[in-house]
Amino acid sequence: MAQVVISSLNKKYDEVHAVKDVNLDIRNKEFVVLVGPSGCGKTTTLRMVAGLESITSGRIMIDDTVVNDLPPMDRDIAMVFQNYALYPHMSVYDNMAFGLKMRKFAKAEIDKRVREAGDVLGIQELLKRKPRQLSGGQRQRVALGRAIVRHPRVFLFDEPLSNLDAKLRVQMRVELKKLHERLGTTAIYVTHDQVEAMTLGDRVVVMRDGRVQQVGEPLELYNQPTNRFVAGFIGSPAMNFASVRIHQESSAVWATGEGIRVKLPPAQAARLTPYSGNEVALGVRPEDMRIAAEADSGEMTIDAEVEVVERLGSEILLDVKVGAATMVASVDPTVTAKMHDRLRLSLNPDRLHFFDNTSEAAI
């Protein structure tokens, strides 16, 4: 059980500044997910915690020890790799026992721990097999088993589920969550999949271009993104953005754009008043849009033309054209919209996001 403190962490390769001033405070027993597009520095950060990558500047502490210069074996961590990295010439049992053998555990203790892990992961019958005789999901379990037998202070996961097919991925995701619940070991998990991040993480760290964009609980990221990047990255389908002009009209603040006419609620009106006369980006999630009813006022609406109708069963995704931009609206499955229909969408006034056009920060 341990906490990990990362302060002003930097990684520079010859030309590339891969990780820029990352500060992160990971609490004991916490499951923290680093998420971001490829090349955002999340894996590099994880590898620096593991000791597989040298640190250009900054400090990594596990509990009270600065581990910057400790070799990986002395950090008391375990890592699960994307390609599992099972030792192909060893049986499943030996794969899991290897780390314990290297640490000179007694034979009986090794046996006990390996069988325990086998029970937890449901791979007792596979212990004698070689990795090549296993399916993807089984290999994944062995890789997990190899990590848990050591009872390390910190688990590191580097996109462990991305080689599995979609169905298995969902299943393993749930099992990982249960496993963490049961073991309570501090875990750092890297993924590019925001759904994985949202479902697994106690807290999620969104990264882009080597910088941390936002750290927070999943719903905090979803409800209060600090900038346009986080807003667009978290949530599926992604948030819609449109350029709107802020102006005051008859003692109310309005945001208008092509096909868009929104009267801002008081709280937001106050924040946006300084932007009066300027363009800002309006962000609205697909699930916060619905087909306008007759009774709705025209104060919170978007006029759109349907381009594509995607029926998913539980909902319908409407790809609509608003002015020159395209947006996606998630509407009730009973809606009978057709392609090329013109319709009016109503927005949820409490769930509008505005972003500064230059800094991209939330307003």
Binding site: L52, R75, M79, Q82, N83, P88, H89, G99, R132, R150
Partner: protein, 283 residues
């Protein structure tokens, strides 16, 4: 496989394959026939009425007997075996470590050192034997097995290094990283994880190095002079060709017996060998 009509398969697959196999195997066949053909048939003129170069009706082991009794063939075999094994062991050891270092460790000029090693492999032996013979003389190693055991690695180490470097690069880096997180220092990760996984590559390099030293001719010819020190390729050609007299039967018997160990080694490890040259490791 070639798709389509039967004749296309014959023209584009079976016929070229047959031509290839026949032209490859014919020298071996010729060697065997000559080795078991009695002398009176061997030296029969081509226009004699019963001239039959491609087969014999009176096979004999007389040449093999002569080879074993009248020459030092047994000694040559032992010499060759000893020299090849020792040279292969030295080269494999150095090649493994050097190949690993070039593939995995980060150090200045790693790339250019790798290229440099490869270039030394390209220097022809016919050019190198002149300075090498000078060195051999200075160290008083001439006419002893050490002359070859120590000079064969000059071309075997670059070869092994290059082959092993390629093989190590095909092994996922994560295997080793995982071992190091699991608690193994680098040398243990190398010994327990990487080398066992690289066995096909190691065997290929070993087999190839063994074959190269077994067949080596020019260094053996230059550095060894007394008959009892010679290796098979040199012994057979220098002792069984006297002036302009070729003892064809014994020559071919020697070539035949001399190629048996190599053929044996190949057939034994052929599967490893193929996967070593072509394959990599699947996770």
């Amino acid at each position: 496989m070639i798709e389509g009509a039967r004749w296309r398969r014959w023209v584009f697959f079976y016929l070229p394959l047959t031509a290839f196999v026949v032209s490859l195997l014919f020298p071996f066949y010729w060697m065997i026939v000559t080795a078991v053909r009695p002398d009176n048939e061997l030296y029969r003129p081509w226009n004699a009425p019963n001239y039959a170069p491609f087969w014999t009706l009176h096979p004999t082991l007389e040449h093999v007997r002569d080879l074993l009794n009248d020459t030092l063939f047994g000694t040559w075999m032992l010499n060759t075996m000893l020299i090849s094994l020792a040279a292969t062991a030295i080269s494999l050891f150095c090649g493994l470590l050097a190949g690993y270092a070039l593939a995995r460790l980060k150090f200045p000029f790693a790339g250019s050192i790798g290229t440099g090693i490869f270039i030394t492999y390209l220097v022809p032996q016919t050019l190198l034997f002149i300075p090498l013979s000078d060195i051999i003389r200075n160290f008083h190693l001439g006419d002893s097995p050490w002359a070859l055991i120590l000079t064969y690695p000059t071309f075997l180490i670059p070869f092994c290094t290059w082959l092993m470097m390629g093989y190590f690069k095909s092994i996922p880096k994560e295997l080793e990283e995982c071992a190091r997180i699991d608690g193994a220092p680098r040398w243990k990760a190398m010994l327990y994880i990487i080398f066992p996984v690289a066995i096909p590559g190691i065997l290929s390099a070993g087999i190839f190095a063994f074959t190269l030293s077994w067949n080596e001719f020019i260094y053996a010819l230059v550095f060894l002079s007394s008959p009892e020190q010679k290796t098979v390729p040199v012994g057979v050609t220098s002792e069984l060709v006297r002036g302009d007299v070729f003892y064809w039967g014994e020559l071919m018997a020697g070539a035949l017996l001399g190629s048996i160990p190599v053929a044996f080694v190949y057939s034994f490890f052929v599967e490893y060998y193929v996967s070593g040259i072509t394959g990599s490791v699947k996770g």
